[in-house]
């Protein structure tokens, strides 16, 4: 255990104007780059790391923490203002954020996202600082069998998002899983469905698929609608009433349970390596919708929907550091980037980190707390800037966004090959949404697919092919029971919705 003197020394190291400045730089860069369509938070981190080479460890890490957290807030901006999420977790934010922005309340929507993102982030940071060690040990006990059960549970909750046609939802999910099976198979490492393109051996590049499906397909659709009739990207000042431009305390407080639930889901999933923020955001959204007294108001600009998604996906990022710091296991691409930055600065995450470099770790925690508050402050100013930017004519916004997506994806993947894949998925995404298939279901299945198949392969290997051994794990059994309950519950809800739908 780390003694109190180390803790206070660590926090003391962090809270200096010099470090605050680096946090501020980081947050500014992160929010800006994260909000640019096609670049996003992960890219922001990758770009930022080389700039830290010449710095001392603490300012360097403070800077990266700032970029990481700023990128999260920035990532919600294009999702809400333009309905073009750059990352799949922000897609859940767009579900209610964009409708609200379209109703002339873009500032209210983005501010709600900012507040709930910072709230979820702060929650998971506090969990990380106080109880990371026991949580990490619990996460270790989640072996492949439990992970399979957890994924089944996640899929069952997503049934709540399927909408009014179960068959079409199943097709969207199956298609996502099929696309996810491109690349080496999880057990024998053979190239699968790569058609001779070795660039696909590690699977279809995530940024290409996510940005193509979610952002470009939406831009394509909107371009065809704008044809010959150039408007502003969004009507910023449709209403000048101050209550439409801010989030009141009462509105924030009304979302407290939603945010608490979102942050808890995010923290738990974040502590388990490899599940990721997308599942957390959508699980939180689906649960909030299911628990609401007025589920039909979701998808039309409900603040609860924004709060659910943002609190969960931001909590994941803080919680991803739990396995990273205590065990040295990165839970996501972003966390893998942080680990490499740590290594460059001589920090070796793992069981001895707190003992050997406790002061630096608590310095990092201090920087994280600072970054949360800086995020809130910079966000308030930045959101005004972004709502101004998207009030430019649609023609310029679409052409600029397309160029940025091309450049961003080509930087994040292997050049133009990744851009070509992005275009293919943009067209696929457009056709799917035109024919009424849920892109959201597709993308979640695509993101969860590889881990799901890998965990099944691992479970089969561990149990000699006898999956009934699953019933020997109490955690797995509990999760499976929950899956059945939630699946039946959501199917009933869907059936009710369908019945209403067919009457009208």
């Amino acid at each position: 255990m780390v003694d109190l003197a180390t803790i206070t020394a660590g926090f003391g190291d962090a809270f200096t104007p010099f470090n605050l400045m680096f946090v501020l730089f980081g947050v500014l860069l992160g929010q800006f780059v994260g909000a640019v369509p096609g670049i996003g938070p992960i890219m922001a981190m990758a770009i930022a790391i080389p700039f830290t080479f010449g710095l001392d460890p603490l300012p360097a890490i403070a800077f990266l923490v700032g970029v990481n957290k700023g990128g999260l807030v920035g990532g919600a901006v294009p999702a809400i203002l333009m309905n073009t999420p750059g990352t799949p977790d922000a897609a859940a934010t767009a579900l209610d954020g964009h409708p609200l922005a379209k109703r002339g309340k873009p500032l209210k929507a983005t501010k709600m996202a900012l507040f709930s993102s910072v709230t979820g982030d702060l929650f998971s940071d506090i969990v990380l600082i106080t109880v990371s060690a026991p949580l990490a040990i619990m996460a270790l006990k989640m072996g492949p069998i439990e992970v399979v059960a957890l994924m089944i549970f996640a899929f069952s909750i997503l049934a709540g998002l399927i909408g009014n046609s179960l068959i079409k939802g199943m097709i969207a999910a199956a298609l996502g899983l099929l696309v996810a099976s491109v690349g080496q198979d999880p057990e024998h490492y053979t190239p699968r469905l790569i058609f001779g393109y070795w660039d696909l051996f590690d699977g279809l590049p995530l940024p290409s698929v996510a940005i193509g499906m979610l952002a470009i397909s939406e831009i394509l659709r909107r371009m065809s609608l704008a044809h010959g009739n150039v408007k502003s990207g969004i009507i910023t000042d449709g209403s000048n009433r101050p209550e439409d431009r801010r989030v009141s305390w009462a509105e924030y407080w009304a979302c407290r349970y939603t945010m608490l639930r979102g942050a808890t889901i995010g923290t738990i999933l974040g502590a388990l390596p490899g599940i990721g923020s997308t599942a957390a955001a959508f699980m939180s959204y689906a649960m909030t919708k299911a628990g609401s007294k007025d589920p039909s108001s979701f998808g039309k600009g409900n603040l609860q929907g924004i709060a659910a998604s943002e609190s969960a996906n931001s909590a994941v990022v803080g919680a991803n550091l739990i396995p990273l710091l205590t065990l040295g296991i990165p839970g996501s691409v972003g966390a893998a980037l942080i680990i490499s930055a740590f290594m460059i600065h001589g920090m070796q995450p793992g069981p001895l980190l707190f003992e050997q470099q406790g002061r630096l770790v608590y310095g990092l925690f201090g920087a994280m707390l600072m970054a949360n508050f800086v995020n809130l402050w910079v966000g308030q100013l930045g959101l005004r800037f972004w709502t101004k930017v998207v009030s430019a004519p649609e023609s310029i916004i679409f052409s600029a966004a397309l160029l940025l997506c091309i450049v961003g994806v080509s930087m994040a993947t292997s050049g133009l090959f990744g851009v070509a894949i992005m275009l293919i998925f943009a067209i696929v995404g457009y056709l799917m949404s035109t024919f009424g298939y849920s892109l959201v279901i597709f993308i979640i299945a695509f993101f969860l697919g590889p881990r799901f198949e890998k965990s099944i392969a691992q479970s089969l290997a561990l149990t000699n092919g006898d999956l009934t051994q699953m019933f020997k794990s109490p955690v797995a059994v509990a999760l499976l029971v929950l899956s059945v309950v939630s699946f039946v519950y959501f199917m009933r809800k869907n059936a009710e919705a369908e019945a209403i739908d067919s009457k009208t």
């Binding site: 710095l55 057990e187 024998h188 051996f201 990165p330 460059i344 001589g346 069981p351 691992q458």
Partner: protein
């Protein structure tokens, strides 16, 4: 390393670059020199490649750009490199084993062989170890095999095809049976061992903090020679299983590149690999010292590696 020592190191290497008789002064890239890393951002190859690029930039003043080209453990990147016209000032950085494995298994599907490249040098060797939790009821490979026979089977986590083959070879030689669980990289292997889902697994550096903390122990080395950090532990070969894996981080360019360029770039790489700040990164990443086998030595390493991979895969 803190800021001051870093600045000193940079300053010192810059000074050395000025004062030493400058090598290959006559050649410099016209435009940026790109290092393409055959893996995604955030791994050990990426970390070493980025610092290598940074040190080369500081030493030579060239504009060194580092990019990630992930896919197939470097196969995608080397495919691209082999299809380019020479003299494009693009250097590929990868690991020998994944490339050699695909060359042995699917050589007919690949547009290159080991002669398609001009080799520049190596950076380091990855040491591969079979490790187990400290509570495991065995300390050596022989004891582990005995335990597996007693239990009927034993779960072992692997993260790449050669390790699977090493374990299959162990099964064939000893008659023991193992449940091979494939994991996504060394970090997941460690998670499976710590969580108690498997008893042993392979690590290429990820296990080091746990060895230091006493949570894990080394059962066997999987390289040709013994592990530098555990010289008392026998290798698979010494334990009667004739199989080893020697992954080497290396750099290469499209074949047919101007010999002057090769000379200048390989000299710059060699200089960077000797820099203390680079050595520290290598030790953080692979727990070994930097090793540069040079232009000829790297080619020889690939030729020998291919022969060994053929034996391992029984081709």
């Amino acid at each position: 390393m803190n800021l001051k020592s870093k600045i000193f190191a940079l300053g010192a290497s810059a000074l050395m670059a000025f004062s030493a008789p400058v090598l290959a002064e006559d050649w410099a890239p016209d435009g940026p020199l790109t290092i393409q890393i055959g893996f995604g951002a955030g791994g050990s190859t990426d970390t070493m490649g980025r610092v290598l690029g940074k040190v080369m930039k500081d030493n030579t003043g060239w504009n060194v750009v580092v990019e990630n080209k992930p896919g197939g453990g470097g196969v995608a990147m080397f495919t691209g490199l082999s299809q380019m016209p020479p003299n494009r000032n693009i250097v590929g950085m990868g690991v020998s084993i994944p490339v050699l494995v695909q060359l042995v298994n699917r050589g007919d599907q690949l547009p290159f062989d080991i002669d398609s490249f001009d080799y520049l040098g190596t950076v380091a060797k990855a040491e591969l170890a079979l490790v187990a939790s400290k509570d495991a009821p065995f300390d050596t490979l022989e004891e582990m095999v005995a335990h597996a026979k007693e239990q009927g089977t034993l779960a072992v986590a692997t993260m790449a095809p050669p390790q699977v083959l090493v374990m299959k070879q162990t099964e064939a030689k000893t008659g023991a049976s193992f449940n091979l669980v494939t994991a996504d990289g060394g970090a997941e292997v460690m998670k499976l061992i710590l969580g108690g889902q498997v008893l042993a697994g392979f690590g290429s550096g990820e296990q080091y903090p746990y060895l230091e903390s006493g949570d894990m122990k080394v059962i066997a080395g999987a390289n040709q020679s013994r592990l530098s950090y555990a010289p008392d532990v026998k290798t698979f070969t010494e334990s009667g299983v004739p199989a080893y894996v020697d992954p080497v981080f290396f750099l290469a360019m499209t074949g047919g590149t101007d010999p002057e360029a090769i000379k200048a770039i390989s000299a710059a790489i060699d200089e960077a690999i000797k820099a203390p700040e680079f050595a520290e990164i290598v030790r953080n990443a692979v727990k070994g010292d930097p090793i540069n086998m040079g232009v000829e030595g790297t080619k020889q390493m690939m030729v020998d590696g291919l022969a060994n991979a053929k034996v391992l895969f029984g081709k």
